[in-house]
């Protein structure tokens, strides 16, 4: 089930945009490709995705990859759902760096590493943490958090990067 690879990840936002433009009686949803980490569910104000040095708008429906940075401005906030149903929200002036994501839909084994450089991040842990709690790590400039299946908020003051 995890063998399907999308040939062009870059084409995804385009594909989503054209899907949204279609007006048909058929209901469309957008599954996240098996090689991606998740999807932006809600975006308010300034939300930017940085991928390999390139910036794009973090709009509703944008795919989040396993090594993206998501950055919100002073008026920004964003809600992200990962494939294992980890749910996250970035408050204003926040930088979240995704570092690693893997999830097997049959066994629920996987790994999630992410770090908060500045700002606020709310997290509701998902299926990876339920299957193997030591496989989920969030870090901040001075801490590493081990998640034991739960809901929490990370708050990092200052300018960060």
């Amino acid at each position: 089930m995890n063998l399907i690879k999308l040939t062009s990840v870059a084409a995804m936002p385009l594909a989503l945009a054209s899907l949204a433009a279609l007006v048909t009686p058929t209901l469309h949803a957008a599954p996240v490709p098996d090689d991606a980490a998740g999807i932006i569910k809600t975006a308010k104000g300034s939300v930017t995705i940085e991928r390999a040095g390139r910036k794009s708008a973090g709009a509703e429906g944008a795919i989040v990859q396993a090594s993206d940075r998501i950055i919100t401005g002073a008026d920004g906030s964003a809600g992200i759902a990962l494939r294992d149903e980890t749910r996250m929200a970035l408050g204003p002036n926040t930088t979240l760096a995704m570092e690693h994501f893997a999830f097997n839909t049959t066994t629920h084994e996987g790994r999630l590493d992410a770090s908060v450089r500045r700002g606020t991040l709310a997290v509701i842990s998902g299926k990876i943490a339920k299957q193997s709690p030591t496989a989920v790590k969030f870090s901040t400039p001075s801490t590493v958090l081990g998640v034991r299946g739960t809901e929490f908020v990370i708050d990092v003051e200052g300018d960060g990067e």
């Binding site: 209901l27 809600g79 049959t106 901040t140 299946g149």
Partner: protein, 198 residues
């Protein structure tokens, strides 16, 4: 001689000031399922476990950790903007199968209209169809059967008007029974497919 003393006094004051406001704060919230969770906070100075709701580990400039418990209202107010941005939990619809078949029990078919409605309500919606089996037969057989059941439900969703390329399928085999049984036991409540709209 007075210069260095003033400098030291200022430095001490600056450090005290710096430490007064936490630079980082990790706050545990109660889980939506009511189960107590926990977060292990590791710093250069050691590990601390957060396992009470609305308790925070506050990390100062010197990496020292202070534990603080606050009223729920203070935490909810401080983090209102970020908590409001959390995506909704998945809506879960479950349909059941006759033994060793891909045929739904009749009452399960009625769920499809509700699934369409839920899908239309959500931002950037996803549909994930996950098959499960009971513990009759082997793990490998059940992995294949659970995936076949999920594919069958995907077909039904397509017939109900949901685009085929927008549905992801997975098979969990017998790993996640709704009801625990001994191996080899037939159990209708475990022969099911979850349709998760998120």
């Amino acid at each position: 001689m007075i210069g260095p003393l003033i400098f030291i006094a200022c430095l001490a004051a600056a450090i005290a000031q710096h430490n007064a406001a936490p630079r980082e704060r990790i706050t545990l919230l109660p889980g939506a399922d009511g189960k107590p969770g926990a977060v292990v906070v590791a710093t250069a100075k050691g590990e601390t476990v957060l396992d009470q709701p609305y308790r925070s580990a506050q990390v100062g400039g010197n990496a020292a950790v202070t534990m603080v418990t606050e009223p729920e209202s203070a935490v909810r107010q401080r983090y209102a903007p970020v908590l409001a941005a959390l995506p909704k939990a998945a809506a879960v619809f479950t349909v059941y199968f006759e033994t060793n078949t891909e045929d739904l029990v009749p009452e399960s078919a009625a769920r499809f209209a509700q699934i369409r409605d839920e899908l239309a309500r959500r931002p950037a919606p996803e549909v994930i169809v996950i098959g499960h089996t009971d513990r009759v037969d082997t793990t490998a057989y059940n992995d294949a059967l659970s995936l076949k059941r999920a594919e069958r439900v995907k077909q039904l969703l397509v017939e109900a008007g949901i685009a085929a390329d927008s549905i992801a399928v997975a098979g969990r085999g017998e790993r996640e029974p709704a009801v625990h049984t001994t191996d080899g036991q037939a159990e209708v409540r475990n022969r099911r497919v979850e349709i998760r709209v998120r």
